[in-house]
Symmetry: C2
Subunit: 188 residues, 2 copies
């Protein structure tokens, strides 16, 4: 009975084949990751041979929201993200790592910086209807990045997506980001 | 480079051999787990053959504190937990699962219940010097329990430990616990 566990780990695999064609890999801060042409997503942990055949593997799990209050959650729930819509041909995958100063903060201090100072959640409200997204947590798996966010949007909303990133990257919260890579893809 | 990950997953293995001799397994709520005589801890995920040879395997990872504020953290840091002290012969492992109502709450609602209503952190302050402990998160690994807490204390402090549990189990927070097993062991 105790072995009936559910897999919650998602693997993002960079390599020579996959459902998503990479257009650009931009290093925003910290060290770059190896270049490759495709990303594939598997809802499982990988065998050694699957790892050997890939350029890189990043893993994470979706989880409960860590900072959002009830009034904020009610706004988010009005426009839930939907992934996999074929018209949303533009895809982005943004792994980030925050520095040790961030992880030494307590919950109330992190909330203060994330929302009261940086308006991370509030900034996102404007984009709920056009930018679909899913956050995956990686740090607790001992991964080299702390988070991976996956985004899906239409070509006409690409400028909006870049505006969202620009706003977030200018916040106080982002001064704690020590590594960030911005991978843009097209759905095949 | 991207494959240089650190293992953070700890496996608690119930079976016929191990460093910790089980004295009692008490089901506090929900369904029981299979009885066995020993617990072993490995700081790794397990192979299929290691799993086959065990009665049960529960896994989790230590992580950053999810609710603690700075003033609370400062009190915790004055008396840090130390595991592995040979004089602390009494060990307890308490896996719990909270219900779906808990996980539908937002961060502010969970904090309200955990501390403002239930004084979970404040209750623990009295026992910092005598009850050493470590919390492991399991839910994000798709495990059957959400958390595993490991405790170490001396025989003379066993009554104090039972008092701590009794206080916590009578809180509003504990009305969200749908499964709890209390495994008591002796260090060999």
């Amino acid at each position: 009975m105790e072995t009936q566990k559910t897999n919650k780990i998602v693997s993002f695999i960079g390599g020579k084949a996959g459902e998503y064609k990479i257009n650009t890999i931009s290093t925003i801060s910290g060290s770059p990751i190896a270049l490759c042409d495709f990303v594939s997503i598997k809802k499982e942990t990988l065998s050694d041979s699957q790892r050997t055949n890939s350029t890189w593997v990043l893993q994470g799990f979706a989880s409960n929201l860590r900072y959002t209050t009830r009034p904020e959650k009610n706004i988010l729930d009005e426009k839930p993200s939907v992934l996999g819509i074929s018209e949303n041909k533009c895809l982005a995958m943004i792994p980030i790592k925050k520095n040790s100063a961030w992880w030494l903060l307590t919950q109330d201090e992190r909330r203060q910086i994330l929302e009261e100072d940086s308006k991370h959640i509030e900034i996102g409200f404007k984009y709920l209807a056009t930018i679909n997204r899913q956050l995956y947590h990686s740090r607790d798996l001992g991964e080299v990045f702390d988070f991976i966010t996956w985004f899906e949007f239409s070509e006409e909303n690409e400028a909006q997506f870049n505006e969202l990133l620009s706003k977030l990257r200018s916040t106080k919260e982002w001064t704690f980001v020590e590594r960030e890579v911005d991978i843009r893809m097209t759905r095949i």
